[in-house]
Subunit: 304 residues, 2 copies
Protein backbone atom coordinates (compact mmCIF):
# COMPACT_ATOMS: atom_id res chain seq x y z
CA UNK A 1 0.00 0.00 0.00
CA UNK A 2 1.37 3.44 -0.86
CA UNK A 3 2.11 6.05 1.77
CA UNK A 4 -0.52 8.35 0.25
CA UNK A 5 -3.28 5.80 0.75
CA UNK A 6 -2.00 5.01 4.26
CA UNK A 7 -2.37 8.65 5.31
CA UNK A 8 -6.00 8.69 4.19
CA UNK A 9 -7.02 6.04 6.75
CA UNK A 10 -8.69 7.70 9.77
CA UNK A 11 -6.56 7.17 12.86
CA UNK A 12 -7.75 6.39 16.39
CA UNK A 13 -7.91 9.71 18.28
CA UNK A 14 -6.58 8.52 21.63
CA UNK A 15 -4.17 5.68 20.91
CA UNK A 16 -3.07 3.27 23.62
CA UNK A 17 0.58 3.34 24.62
CA UNK A 18 1.08 -0.41 24.52
CA UNK A 19 -1.43 -3.04 23.40
CA UNK A 20 -0.93 -6.74 24.11
CA UNK A 21 -2.78 -9.27 21.98
CA UNK A 22 -2.99 -12.74 23.58
CA UNK A 23 -3.81 -15.36 20.94
CA UNK A 24 -2.65 -14.42 17.45
CA UNK A 25 -4.69 -16.70 15.19
CA UNK A 26 -7.14 -15.62 12.52
CA UNK A 27 -9.00 -13.02 14.62
CA UNK A 28 -6.09 -11.91 16.81
CA UNK A 29 -3.73 -11.37 13.89
CA UNK A 30 -6.44 -9.61 11.87
CA UNK A 31 -7.03 -7.25 14.77
CA UNK A 32 -3.28 -6.62 15.08
CA UNK A 33 -3.15 -5.70 11.41
CA UNK A 34 -6.23 -3.47 11.72
CA UNK A 35 -4.88 -1.80 14.86
CA UNK A 36 -1.58 -0.95 13.16
CA UNK A 37 -3.43 0.48 10.23
CA UNK A 38 -5.58 2.81 12.33
CA UNK A 39 -2.85 3.68 14.84
CA UNK A 40 -4.72 2.15 17.78
CA UNK A 41 -1.56 1.78 19.87
CA UNK A 42 1.96 3.18 19.73
CA UNK A 43 3.31 -0.31 20.40
CA UNK A 44 1.73 -3.72 19.79
CA UNK A 45 2.98 -6.86 21.54
CA UNK A 46 1.82 -10.31 20.43
CA UNK A 47 1.75 -13.54 22.43
CA UNK A 48 0.48 -17.00 21.55
CA UNK A 49 0.56 -20.23 23.57
CA UNK A 50 1.91 -22.05 20.50
CA UNK A 51 5.64 -21.67 19.89
CA UNK A 52 5.15 -22.27 16.16
CA UNK A 53 2.59 -19.45 16.01
CA UNK A 54 4.91 -17.11 17.95
CA UNK A 55 7.72 -17.83 15.51
CA UNK A 56 5.48 -17.23 12.51
CA UNK A 57 4.21 -14.02 14.10
CA UNK A 58 7.78 -12.78 14.27
CA UNK A 59 8.39 -13.67 10.62
CA UNK A 60 5.23 -11.86 9.54
CA UNK A 61 6.57 -8.73 11.27
CA UNK A 62 3.11 -7.37 12.08
CA UNK A 63 3.85 -6.68 15.77
CA UNK A 64 6.47 -4.48 17.38
CA UNK A 65 7.58 -7.49 19.40
CA UNK A 66 6.66 -11.07 20.12
CA UNK A 67 6.55 -11.89 23.82
CA UNK A 68 7.74 -15.34 24.84
CA UNK A 69 5.74 -15.44 28.02
CA UNK A 70 2.36 -14.01 28.86
CA UNK A 71 3.60 -11.91 31.83
CA UNK A 72 6.05 -10.04 29.57
CA UNK A 73 3.29 -9.53 27.01
CA UNK A 74 0.93 -7.73 29.38
CA UNK A 75 3.48 -6.00 31.60
CA UNK A 76 3.19 -2.26 30.99
CA UNK A 77 0.27 -2.68 28.61
CA UNK A 78 -2.68 -0.30 28.89
CA UNK A 79 -4.77 -2.50 26.55
CA UNK A 80 -4.95 -6.30 26.67
CA UNK A 81 -6.93 -8.17 24.01
CA UNK A 82 -7.71 -11.84 24.72
CA UNK A 83 -8.24 -13.58 21.36
CA UNK A 84 -7.73 -17.21 22.41
CA UNK A 85 -10.30 -20.03 22.26
CA UNK A 86 -12.83 -19.70 25.11
CA UNK A 87 -11.43 -22.76 26.89
CA UNK A 88 -8.21 -20.86 27.65
CA UNK A 89 -9.90 -17.83 29.26
CA UNK A 90 -9.60 -18.92 32.89
CA UNK A 91 -5.90 -19.77 32.64
CA UNK A 92 -5.15 -16.61 30.66
CA UNK A 93 -7.01 -14.42 33.19
CA UNK A 94 -5.13 -15.94 36.11
CA UNK A 95 -1.78 -15.59 34.32
CA UNK A 96 -2.23 -11.95 33.38
CA UNK A 97 -3.99 -10.68 36.54
CA UNK A 98 -0.85 -10.11 38.69
CA UNK A 99 0.76 -8.06 35.89
CA UNK A 100 -2.11 -5.69 35.06
CA UNK A 101 -1.52 -2.06 36.01
CA UNK A 102 -4.47 0.00 37.34
CA UNK A 103 -6.39 1.67 34.51
CA UNK A 104 -5.58 -1.06 32.00
CA UNK A 105 -8.44 -2.07 29.72
CA UNK A 106 -8.96 -5.79 29.09
CA UNK A 107 -11.16 -6.90 26.20
CA UNK A 108 -11.74 -10.15 24.31
CA UNK A 109 -13.03 -11.35 20.94
CA UNK A 110 -14.90 -14.53 21.95
CA UNK A 111 -18.03 -15.78 20.18
CA UNK A 112 -19.83 -16.50 23.47
CA UNK A 113 -19.95 -13.66 25.99
CA UNK A 114 -20.82 -15.37 29.26
CA UNK A 115 -17.32 -16.93 29.63
CA UNK A 116 -15.69 -13.49 29.76
CA UNK A 117 -17.86 -12.65 32.77
CA UNK A 118 -17.42 -16.09 34.34
CA UNK A 119 -13.72 -16.76 33.68
CA UNK A 120 -12.04 -13.37 33.23
CA UNK A 121 -14.02 -10.93 35.40
CA UNK A 122 -13.31 -12.62 38.79
CA UNK A 123 -9.54 -12.54 38.22
CA UNK A 124 -9.37 -8.89 37.14
CA UNK A 125 -7.89 -6.62 39.85
CA UNK A 126 -9.65 -3.52 41.16
CA UNK A 127 -9.10 -0.55 38.82
CA UNK A 128 -8.71 -2.64 35.67
CA UNK A 129 -11.61 -2.32 33.18
CA UNK A 130 -13.15 -5.36 31.48
CA UNK A 131 -14.98 -4.67 28.20
CA UNK A 132 -15.95 -7.99 26.59
CA UNK A 133 -16.34 -7.86 22.81
CA UNK A 134 -17.24 -10.02 19.83
CA UNK A 135 -16.42 -9.01 16.25
CA UNK A 136 -18.95 -10.81 14.00
CA UNK A 137 -16.45 -11.56 11.30
CA UNK A 138 -14.14 -14.34 10.26
CA UNK A 139 -13.41 -16.83 7.53
CA UNK A 140 -12.99 -20.60 7.73
CA UNK A 141 -9.19 -20.16 7.84
CA UNK A 142 -6.99 -20.28 10.93
CA UNK A 143 -3.61 -19.08 12.07
CA UNK A 144 -1.65 -15.81 11.84
CA UNK A 145 -1.13 -16.07 8.07
CA UNK A 146 -4.88 -16.04 7.43
CA UNK A 147 -5.55 -12.71 9.12
CA UNK A 148 -6.08 -9.44 7.26
CA UNK A 149 -6.78 -5.85 8.32
CA UNK A 150 -10.03 -5.54 6.31
CA UNK A 151 -11.75 -8.50 7.99
CA UNK A 152 -13.88 -6.26 10.21
CA UNK A 153 -14.98 -3.74 7.61
CA UNK A 154 -18.76 -3.39 7.36
CA UNK A 155 -19.26 -6.02 10.08
CA UNK A 156 -20.84 -5.69 13.49
CA UNK A 157 -18.88 -5.76 16.71
CA UNK A 158 -20.88 -6.40 19.87
CA UNK A 159 -19.57 -5.16 23.22
CA UNK A 160 -21.12 -6.56 26.41
CA UNK A 161 -19.91 -4.39 29.34
CA UNK A 162 -21.82 -4.60 32.62
CA UNK A 163 -23.62 -1.53 33.99
CA UNK A 164 -20.77 -0.59 36.35
CA UNK A 165 -18.10 -0.54 33.63
CA UNK A 166 -16.35 2.79 33.07
CA UNK A 167 -18.03 4.35 29.99
CA UNK A 168 -14.72 5.81 28.88
CA UNK A 169 -13.14 2.33 28.75
CA UNK A 170 -16.07 1.10 26.65
CA UNK A 171 -15.68 4.08 24.34
CA UNK A 172 -11.95 3.50 23.81
CA UNK A 173 -12.53 -0.13 22.84
CA UNK A 174 -15.44 0.88 20.59
CA UNK A 175 -13.21 3.48 18.91
CA UNK A 176 -10.77 0.79 17.78
CA UNK A 177 -13.51 -1.34 16.24
CA UNK A 178 -15.09 1.65 14.54
CA UNK A 179 -11.72 2.66 13.12
CA UNK A 180 -11.33 -0.92 11.85
CA UNK A 181 -14.56 -0.39 9.92
CA UNK A 182 -17.07 -2.11 12.21
CA UNK A 183 -20.46 -0.98 13.47
CA UNK A 184 -20.41 -1.21 17.27
CA UNK A 185 -23.42 -2.26 19.36
CA UNK A 186 -23.77 -2.73 23.13
CA UNK A 187 -25.69 -5.76 24.36
CA UNK A 188 -26.44 -7.82 27.43
CA UNK A 189 -24.11 -10.89 27.40
CA UNK A 190 -26.93 -13.42 27.86
CA UNK A 191 -28.94 -11.86 25.07
CA UNK A 192 -25.84 -11.94 22.85
CA UNK A 193 -25.38 -15.64 23.48
CA UNK A 194 -29.00 -16.39 22.55
CA UNK A 195 -28.83 -14.40 19.30
CA UNK A 196 -25.56 -16.03 18.27
CA UNK A 197 -26.91 -19.50 19.11
CA UNK A 198 -29.33 -19.21 16.21
CA UNK A 199 -27.35 -17.02 13.77
CA UNK A 200 -24.02 -18.76 14.16
CA UNK A 201 -23.71 -21.70 16.53
CA UNK A 202 -26.63 -23.77 15.25
CA UNK A 203 -25.71 -23.25 11.56
CA UNK A 204 -22.16 -24.37 12.36
CA UNK A 205 -23.41 -27.41 14.29
CA UNK A 206 -25.62 -28.45 11.37
CA UNK A 207 -22.90 -27.85 8.79
CA UNK A 208 -20.42 -29.88 10.84
CA UNK A 209 -22.99 -32.66 11.13
CA UNK A 210 -23.99 -32.86 7.47
CA UNK A 211 -20.40 -32.77 6.26
CA UNK A 212 -19.67 -35.57 8.72
CA UNK A 213 -22.63 -37.57 7.42
CA UNK A 214 -21.23 -37.21 3.91
CA UNK A 215 -17.77 -38.41 4.94
CA UNK A 216 -19.36 -41.59 6.32
CA UNK A 217 -21.00 -42.46 3.01
CA UNK A 218 -20.24 -45.62 1.10
CA UNK A 219 -16.99 -45.22 -0.86
CA UNK A 220 -18.68 -45.04 -4.29
CA UNK A 221 -20.73 -42.04 -3.17
CA UNK A 222 -17.99 -40.21 -1.29
CA UNK A 223 -15.85 -39.09 -4.23
CA UNK A 224 -18.97 -37.86 -5.98
CA UNK A 225 -19.96 -35.76 -3.02
CA UNK A 226 -16.81 -33.71 -3.55
CA UNK A 227 -17.18 -33.63 -7.31
CA UNK A 228 -20.77 -32.42 -7.26
CA UNK A 229 -20.51 -30.19 -4.22
CA UNK A 230 -21.48 -27.05 -6.16
CA UNK A 231 -25.11 -28.03 -5.74
CA UNK A 232 -25.38 -26.70 -2.16
CA UNK A 233 -23.02 -28.86 -0.15
CA UNK A 234 -19.93 -26.68 -0.60
CA UNK A 235 -21.49 -23.81 1.39
CA UNK A 236 -21.75 -26.23 4.30
CA UNK A 237 -18.19 -27.48 3.88
CA UNK A 238 -16.86 -23.93 4.07
CA UNK A 239 -18.60 -23.44 7.40
CA UNK A 240 -17.53 -26.90 8.59
CA UNK A 241 -13.88 -26.10 7.87
CA UNK A 242 -13.73 -23.56 10.71
CA UNK A 243 -11.26 -24.00 13.55
CA UNK A 244 -12.10 -27.18 15.53
CA UNK A 245 -10.82 -26.01 18.93
CA UNK A 246 -12.51 -22.63 18.71
CA UNK A 247 -15.81 -24.33 17.84
CA UNK A 248 -15.48 -27.06 20.44
CA UNK A 249 -15.22 -24.29 23.04
CA UNK A 250 -18.13 -22.34 21.62
CA UNK A 251 -20.47 -25.33 21.92
CA UNK A 252 -19.24 -26.23 25.40
CA UNK A 253 -19.72 -22.63 26.52
CA UNK A 254 -23.11 -21.91 24.99
CA UNK A 255 -24.69 -25.28 25.68
CA UNK A 256 -28.12 -24.26 26.89
CA UNK A 257 -28.90 -21.78 24.12
CA UNK A 258 -27.59 -24.13 21.41
CA UNK A 259 -29.59 -27.11 22.69
CA UNK A 260 -32.71 -24.93 22.95
CA UNK A 261 -32.38 -23.78 19.32
CA UNK A 262 -31.61 -27.33 18.21
CA UNK A 263 -34.84 -28.48 19.85
CA UNK A 264 -36.78 -25.91 17.84
CA UNK A 265 -35.00 -26.99 14.66
CA UNK A 266 -35.97 -30.64 15.26
CA UNK A 267 -39.63 -29.66 15.53
CA UNK A 268 -39.55 -27.73 12.26
CA UNK A 269 -37.60 -30.45 10.48
CA UNK A 270 -40.20 -33.00 11.54
CA UNK A 271 -42.91 -30.94 9.85
CA UNK A 272 -41.00 -30.78 6.54
CA UNK A 273 -39.98 -34.43 6.80
CA UNK A 274 -43.62 -35.43 7.16
CA UNK A 275 -44.63 -33.21 4.23
CA UNK A 276 -42.06 -34.95 2.03
CA UNK A 277 -43.13 -38.39 3.22
CA UNK A 278 -46.85 -37.86 2.58
CA UNK A 279 -46.31 -35.78 -0.57
CA UNK A 280 -47.73 -32.55 0.88
CA UNK A 281 -46.48 -30.06 -1.72
CA UNK A 282 -48.48 -27.15 -0.32
CA UNK A 283 -46.71 -27.20 3.04
CA UNK A 284 -43.32 -27.38 1.35
CA UNK A 285 -44.00 -24.53 -1.07
CA UNK A 286 -45.49 -22.31 1.65
CA UNK A 287 -42.46 -22.87 3.88
CA UNK A 288 -39.94 -22.24 1.10
CA UNK A 289 -41.73 -19.06 0.07
CA UNK A 290 -41.56 -17.74 3.62
CA UNK A 291 -37.79 -18.31 3.92
CA UNK A 292 -37.11 -16.18 0.85
CA UNK A 293 -38.28 -13.10 2.74
CA UNK A 294 -35.62 -13.33 5.42
CA UNK A 295 -32.92 -13.50 2.75
CA UNK A 296 -34.26 -10.27 1.29
CA UNK A 297 -34.03 -8.73 4.75
CA UNK A 298 -30.35 -9.70 4.93
CA UNK A 299 -29.60 -8.33 1.48
CA UNK A 300 -31.31 -5.06 2.45
CA UNK A 301 -29.36 -4.94 5.72
CA UNK A 302 -26.19 -5.19 3.57
CA UNK A 303 -24.96 -8.25 5.48
CA UNK A 304 -25.16 -10.52 2.38
CA UNK B 1 -18.80 -7.84 -25.21
CA UNK B 2 -16.76 -6.80 -28.23
CA UNK B 3 -17.02 -8.62 -31.58
CA UNK B 4 -13.38 -9.71 -31.33
CA UNK B 5 -13.98 -11.53 -28.07
CA UNK B 6 -17.22 -13.03 -29.40
CA UNK B 7 -15.37 -14.62 -32.35
CA UNK B 8 -12.90 -16.28 -30.00
CA UNK B 9 -15.59 -18.43 -28.34
CA UNK B 10 -15.46 -22.02 -29.64
CA UNK B 11 -18.65 -22.81 -31.54
CA UNK B 12 -20.65 -26.06 -31.50
CA UNK B 13 -19.50 -28.11 -34.53
CA UNK B 14 -22.89 -29.50 -35.60
CA UNK B 15 -25.49 -26.90 -34.60
CA UNK B 16 -29.17 -27.76 -34.38
CA UNK B 17 -31.49 -26.11 -36.89
CA UNK B 18 -34.10 -25.08 -34.37
CA UNK B 19 -33.96 -25.46 -30.59
CA UNK B 20 -37.03 -25.03 -28.39
CA UNK B 21 -36.52 -24.23 -24.70
CA UNK B 22 -39.62 -24.94 -22.58
CA UNK B 23 -39.41 -23.09 -19.27
CA UNK B 24 -37.30 -19.94 -19.42
CA UNK B 25 -36.49 -19.22 -15.79
CA UNK B 26 -33.04 -19.05 -14.24
CA UNK B 27 -31.67 -22.26 -15.82
CA UNK B 28 -33.63 -22.17 -19.08
CA UNK B 29 -32.71 -18.56 -19.81
CA UNK B 30 -29.08 -19.15 -18.85
CA UNK B 31 -28.94 -22.07 -21.27
CA UNK B 32 -30.53 -19.94 -24.00
CA UNK B 33 -27.84 -17.32 -23.48
CA UNK B 34 -25.09 -19.95 -23.47
CA UNK B 35 -26.48 -21.66 -26.59
CA UNK B 36 -26.54 -18.39 -28.50
CA UNK B 37 -23.00 -17.68 -27.49
CA UNK B 38 -21.66 -21.02 -28.70
CA UNK B 39 -23.88 -21.24 -31.78
CA UNK B 40 -25.69 -24.37 -30.59
CA UNK B 41 -28.68 -23.77 -32.88
CA UNK B 42 -29.39 -21.57 -35.87
CA UNK B 43 -32.72 -20.58 -34.31
CA UNK B 44 -33.81 -20.59 -30.66
CA UNK B 45 -37.50 -20.52 -29.66
CA UNK B 46 -38.55 -19.89 -26.08
CA UNK B 47 -41.77 -20.85 -24.33
CA UNK B 48 -42.89 -20.45 -20.74
CA UNK B 49 -46.22 -21.33 -19.11
CA UNK B 50 -46.27 -17.86 -17.50
CA UNK B 51 -47.46 -15.03 -19.72
CA UNK B 52 -45.43 -12.52 -17.70
CA UNK B 53 -42.27 -14.57 -18.26
CA UNK B 54 -43.00 -14.87 -22.00
CA UNK B 55 -43.41 -11.11 -22.24
CA UNK B 56 -40.18 -10.48 -20.35
CA UNK B 57 -38.40 -13.03 -22.53
CA UNK B 58 -39.42 -11.01 -25.58
CA UNK B 59 -38.16 -7.79 -24.02
CA UNK B 60 -34.81 -9.39 -23.14
CA UNK B 61 -34.44 -10.32 -26.84
CA UNK B 62 -32.36 -13.40 -26.10
CA UNK B 63 -34.43 -15.75 -28.31
CA UNK B 64 -35.22 -15.57 -32.03
CA UNK B 65 -38.87 -15.82 -31.15
CA UNK B 66 -41.19 -16.34 -28.20
CA UNK B 67 -43.85 -19.00 -28.81
CA UNK B 68 -47.26 -18.37 -27.31
CA UNK B 69 -48.23 -22.02 -27.16
CA UNK B 70 -46.13 -25.09 -26.56
CA UNK B 71 -47.10 -26.81 -29.85
CA UNK B 72 -45.76 -23.87 -31.87
CA UNK B 73 -42.59 -23.89 -29.78
CA UNK B 74 -41.63 -27.49 -30.55
CA UNK B 75 -43.08 -27.74 -34.09
CA UNK B 76 -40.13 -28.12 -36.48
CA UNK B 77 -37.60 -28.23 -33.63
CA UNK B 78 -34.77 -30.79 -33.79
CA UNK B 79 -33.83 -30.05 -30.15
CA UNK B 80 -36.27 -29.61 -27.27
CA UNK B 81 -34.99 -28.63 -23.82
CA UNK B 82 -37.42 -29.04 -20.91
CA UNK B 83 -36.34 -26.63 -18.16
CA UNK B 84 -39.55 -26.44 -16.14
CA UNK B 85 -40.07 -27.54 -12.51
CA UNK B 86 -40.29 -31.36 -12.27
CA UNK B 87 -44.00 -31.24 -11.45
CA UNK B 88 -44.77 -29.99 -14.97
CA UNK B 89 -42.91 -32.80 -16.78
CA UNK B 90 -45.88 -35.08 -17.40
CA UNK B 91 -48.10 -32.33 -18.81
CA UNK B 92 -45.24 -30.92 -20.92
CA UNK B 93 -44.39 -34.36 -22.33
CA UNK B 94 -48.00 -35.01 -23.31
CA UNK B 95 -48.35 -31.55 -24.86
CA UNK B 96 -45.19 -31.78 -26.98
CA UNK B 97 -45.37 -35.48 -28.00
CA UNK B 98 -47.77 -35.10 -30.97
CA UNK B 99 -45.57 -32.33 -32.45
CA UNK B 100 -42.17 -33.99 -32.27
CA UNK B 101 -40.64 -34.93 -35.62
CA UNK B 102 -38.64 -38.19 -35.89
CA UNK B 103 -34.97 -37.67 -35.06
CA UNK B 104 -35.69 -34.83 -32.62
CA UNK B 105 -33.61 -34.86 -29.43
CA UNK B 106 -35.42 -34.11 -26.15
CA UNK B 107 -33.40 -33.24 -23.07
CA UNK B 108 -34.12 -31.68 -19.67
CA UNK B 109 -32.31 -29.85 -16.88
CA UNK B 110 -34.09 -31.29 -13.82
CA UNK B 111 -32.34 -31.80 -10.47
CA UNK B 112 -33.84 -35.29 -10.04
CA UNK B 113 -33.39 -37.69 -12.94
CA UNK B 114 -36.00 -40.39 -12.29
CA UNK B 115 -38.94 -38.10 -13.27
CA UNK B 116 -37.57 -37.71 -16.81
CA UNK B 117 -37.72 -41.49 -17.21
CA UNK B 118 -41.09 -41.77 -15.47
CA UNK B 119 -42.94 -38.75 -16.88
CA UNK B 120 -41.28 -37.88 -20.20
CA UNK B 121 -40.00 -41.20 -21.64
CA UNK B 122 -43.42 -42.93 -21.95
CA UNK B 123 -44.86 -40.04 -23.99
CA UNK B 124 -41.94 -39.75 -26.41
CA UNK B 125 -42.77 -41.16 -29.89
CA UNK B 126 -40.66 -43.81 -31.61
CA UNK B 127 -37.63 -42.24 -33.34
CA UNK B 128 -37.35 -39.32 -30.89
CA UNK B 129 -34.28 -39.44 -28.61
CA UNK B 130 -34.51 -38.69 -24.88
CA UNK B 131 -31.25 -37.59 -23.20
CA UNK B 132 -32.01 -36.48 -19.63
CA UNK B 133 -29.52 -33.97 -18.20
CA UNK B 134 -28.73 -32.02 -15.06
CA UNK B 135 -26.40 -29.03 -15.04
CA UNK B 136 -25.03 -28.71 -11.49
CA UNK B 137 -25.17 -24.95 -11.45
CA UNK B 138 -27.51 -22.21 -10.37
CA UNK B 139 -27.86 -19.29 -8.03
CA UNK B 140 -30.63 -18.49 -5.56
CA UNK B 141 -32.26 -16.18 -8.10
CA UNK B 142 -35.23 -16.99 -10.33
CA UNK B 143 -36.75 -15.82 -13.60
CA UNK B 144 -35.41 -14.93 -17.05
CA UNK B 145 -33.64 -11.78 -15.86
CA UNK B 146 -31.44 -13.75 -13.49
CA UNK B 147 -29.92 -16.00 -16.17
CA UNK B 148 -26.43 -15.55 -17.61
CA UNK B 149 -24.37 -17.41 -20.21
CA UNK B 150 -21.43 -18.10 -17.89
CA UNK B 151 -23.51 -19.97 -15.29
CA UNK B 152 -22.32 -23.39 -16.47
CA UNK B 153 -18.61 -22.61 -16.80
CA UNK B 154 -16.42 -24.96 -14.79
CA UNK B 155 -19.47 -26.86 -13.50
CA UNK B 156 -20.48 -30.47 -14.00
CA UNK B 157 -23.37 -31.53 -16.19
CA UNK B 158 -24.65 -35.06 -15.63
CA UNK B 159 -26.44 -36.87 -18.47
CA UNK B 160 -28.46 -40.00 -17.64
CA UNK B 161 -29.34 -41.72 -20.94
CA UNK B 162 -30.47 -45.35 -20.83
CA UNK B 163 -28.42 -48.06 -22.54
CA UNK B 164 -30.56 -48.08 -25.69
CA UNK B 165 -30.22 -44.33 -26.32
CA UNK B 166 -28.58 -43.33 -29.62
CA UNK B 167 -24.95 -42.43 -28.73
CA UNK B 168 -24.94 -39.69 -31.35
CA UNK B 169 -27.90 -37.98 -29.65
CA UNK B 170 -26.04 -38.15 -26.32
CA UNK B 171 -22.94 -36.69 -27.95
CA UNK B 172 -24.82 -33.78 -29.50
CA UNK B 173 -26.34 -32.82 -26.12
CA UNK B 174 -22.95 -33.25 -24.42
CA UNK B 175 -21.36 -31.00 -27.06
CA UNK B 176 -23.63 -28.11 -26.09
CA UNK B 177 -22.79 -28.40 -22.39
CA UNK B 178 -19.08 -28.69 -23.10
CA UNK B 179 -19.24 -25.61 -25.32
CA UNK B 180 -21.05 -23.82 -22.46
CA UNK B 181 -18.00 -24.61 -20.32
CA UNK B 182 -19.23 -27.65 -18.38
CA UNK B 183 -17.58 -30.99 -17.69
CA UNK B 184 -19.98 -33.72 -18.84
CA UNK B 185 -20.42 -37.04 -17.04
CA UNK B 186 -22.76 -39.97 -17.81
CA UNK B 187 -24.50 -41.62 -14.87
CA UNK B 188 -27.29 -44.01 -13.97
CA UNK B 189 -30.39 -41.94 -13.04
CA UNK B 190 -30.95 -43.70 -9.69
CA UNK B 191 -27.33 -43.22 -8.72
CA UNK B 192 -27.59 -39.55 -9.70
CA UNK B 193 -30.60 -39.10 -7.45
CA UNK B 194 -28.77 -40.65 -4.49
CA UNK B 195 -25.66 -38.48 -4.93
CA UNK B 196 -27.71 -35.31 -5.27
CA UNK B 197 -29.80 -36.21 -2.20
CA UNK B 198 -26.73 -35.69 -0.02
CA UNK B 199 -24.87 -32.98 -1.96
CA UNK B 200 -27.83 -30.80 -2.75
CA UNK B 201 -31.29 -31.83 -1.56
CA UNK B 202 -30.47 -32.45 2.11
CA UNK B 203 -28.42 -29.21 2.45
CA UNK B 204 -31.34 -27.30 0.95
CA UNK B 205 -33.84 -29.01 3.26
CA UNK B 206 -31.74 -28.11 6.30
CA UNK B 207 -31.19 -24.55 5.17
CA UNK B 208 -34.91 -24.09 4.53
CA UNK B 209 -35.63 -25.51 7.98
CA UNK B 210 -33.16 -23.42 9.96
CA UNK B 211 -34.14 -20.20 8.23
CA UNK B 212 -37.76 -21.06 9.00
CA UNK B 213 -36.86 -21.70 12.64
CA UNK B 214 -35.28 -18.24 12.75
CA UNK B 215 -38.33 -16.54 11.27
CA UNK B 216 -40.45 -18.06 14.05
CA UNK B 217 -38.30 -16.53 16.81
CA UNK B 218 -39.64 -14.07 19.33
CA UNK B 219 -39.80 -10.59 17.81
CA UNK B 220 -36.89 -9.18 19.83
CA UNK B 221 -34.56 -11.86 18.44
CA UNK B 222 -35.80 -11.78 14.85
CA UNK B 223 -34.40 -8.40 13.80
CA UNK B 224 -31.07 -9.35 15.30
CA UNK B 225 -30.92 -12.57 13.33
CA UNK B 226 -30.82 -10.46 10.19
CA UNK B 227 -28.43 -7.94 11.62
CA UNK B 228 -25.88 -10.50 12.81
CA UNK B 229 -26.31 -12.98 9.97
CA UNK B 230 -22.67 -12.72 8.87
CA UNK B 231 -21.79 -15.23 11.57
CA UNK B 232 -22.87 -18.26 9.53
CA UNK B 233 -26.58 -17.85 9.05
CA UNK B 234 -26.40 -15.88 5.81
CA UNK B 235 -24.93 -18.85 3.91
CA UNK B 236 -28.07 -20.76 4.85
CA UNK B 237 -30.38 -17.92 3.85
CA UNK B 238 -28.82 -17.78 0.40
CA UNK B 239 -29.59 -21.47 -0.10
CA UNK B 240 -33.04 -21.06 1.42
CA UNK B 241 -33.89 -18.26 -1.03
CA UNK B 242 -33.96 -20.69 -3.98
CA UNK B 243 -37.11 -21.11 -6.07
CA UNK B 244 -39.92 -22.56 -3.88
CA UNK B 245 -41.77 -24.42 -6.66
CA UNK B 246 -38.62 -25.94 -8.12
CA UNK B 247 -37.62 -27.17 -4.66
CA UNK B 248 -41.07 -28.40 -3.70
CA UNK B 249 -40.92 -30.63 -6.79
CA UNK B 250 -37.39 -31.84 -6.06
CA UNK B 251 -38.38 -33.06 -2.61
CA UNK B 252 -41.60 -34.66 -3.84
CA UNK B 253 -39.66 -36.44 -6.61
CA UNK B 254 -36.65 -37.64 -4.64
CA UNK B 255 -38.48 -38.61 -1.49
CA UNK B 256 -36.86 -41.92 -0.65
CA UNK B 257 -33.24 -40.80 -1.10
CA UNK B 258 -33.83 -37.55 0.82
CA UNK B 259 -35.56 -39.30 3.74
CA UNK B 260 -32.77 -41.90 3.85
CA UNK B 261 -30.06 -39.22 4.05
CA UNK B 262 -32.10 -37.27 6.61
CA UNK B 263 -32.24 -40.40 8.75
CA UNK B 264 -28.45 -40.63 8.70
CA UNK B 265 -28.16 -36.93 9.54
CA UNK B 266 -30.43 -37.39 12.59
CA UNK B 267 -28.17 -40.15 13.91
CA UNK B 268 -25.05 -38.00 13.55
CA UNK B 269 -26.73 -34.94 15.03
CA UNK B 270 -27.76 -37.00 18.07
CA UNK B 271 -24.10 -37.85 18.70
CA UNK B 272 -23.01 -34.19 18.61
CA UNK B 273 -26.04 -33.10 20.61
CA UNK B 274 -25.14 -35.56 23.35
CA UNK B 275 -21.50 -34.43 23.30
CA UNK B 276 -22.60 -30.83 23.85
CA UNK B 277 -25.03 -31.82 26.61
CA UNK B 278 -22.51 -33.87 28.61
CA UNK B 279 -19.58 -31.53 27.84
CA UNK B 280 -17.61 -34.08 25.80
CA UNK B 281 -15.11 -31.78 24.12
CA UNK B 282 -13.02 -34.61 22.68
CA UNK B 283 -15.86 -35.94 20.53
CA UNK B 284 -16.64 -32.45 19.27
CA UNK B 285 -13.05 -31.59 18.40
CA UNK B 286 -12.45 -34.94 16.68
CA UNK B 287 -15.57 -34.53 14.58
CA UNK B 288 -14.78 -30.93 13.60
CA UNK B 289 -11.23 -31.89 12.66
CA UNK B 290 -12.52 -34.63 10.36
CA UNK B 291 -14.89 -32.30 8.49
CA UNK B 292 -12.05 -29.95 7.56
CA UNK B 293 -10.58 -32.65 5.31
CA UNK B 294 -13.60 -32.85 3.03
CA UNK B 295 -13.46 -29.09 2.49
CA UNK B 296 -9.85 -29.43 1.40
CA UNK B 297 -10.99 -32.09 -1.09
CA UNK B 298 -13.50 -29.66 -2.56
CA UNK B 299 -10.97 -26.86 -2.80
CA UNK B 300 -8.55 -29.24 -4.56
CA UNK B 301 -11.32 -30.40 -6.92
CA UNK B 302 -11.76 -26.70 -7.84
CA UNK B 303 -15.48 -26.78 -6.95
CA UNK B 304 -15.10 -24.27 -4.10
Amino acid sequence: MSAAVETAIPQVQRPFARAAVIGTGHIGSSLIRAMRRVGAAREIIGFDASEAVRQRLGELAIVDSVAHDIATAVGGADLVVVATPLGAYKAVAEAIAPHLAPGTIVTDTGSVKRPAMRDIAPAIPQGVHLVPGHPIAGTENSGPDSGFAELFQGRWCILTPIASTDPDAVERVAAIWRAAGSMVELMDPDHHDQVLAITSHLPHLIAYTIVGTATDLEEHLKAEVIRYSASGFRDFTRIAASDPVMWRDIFLNNRDAVLEMLGRLYEDLAILQRAIRVGDGETLEAHFTRTRAIRRGIVEAKQA
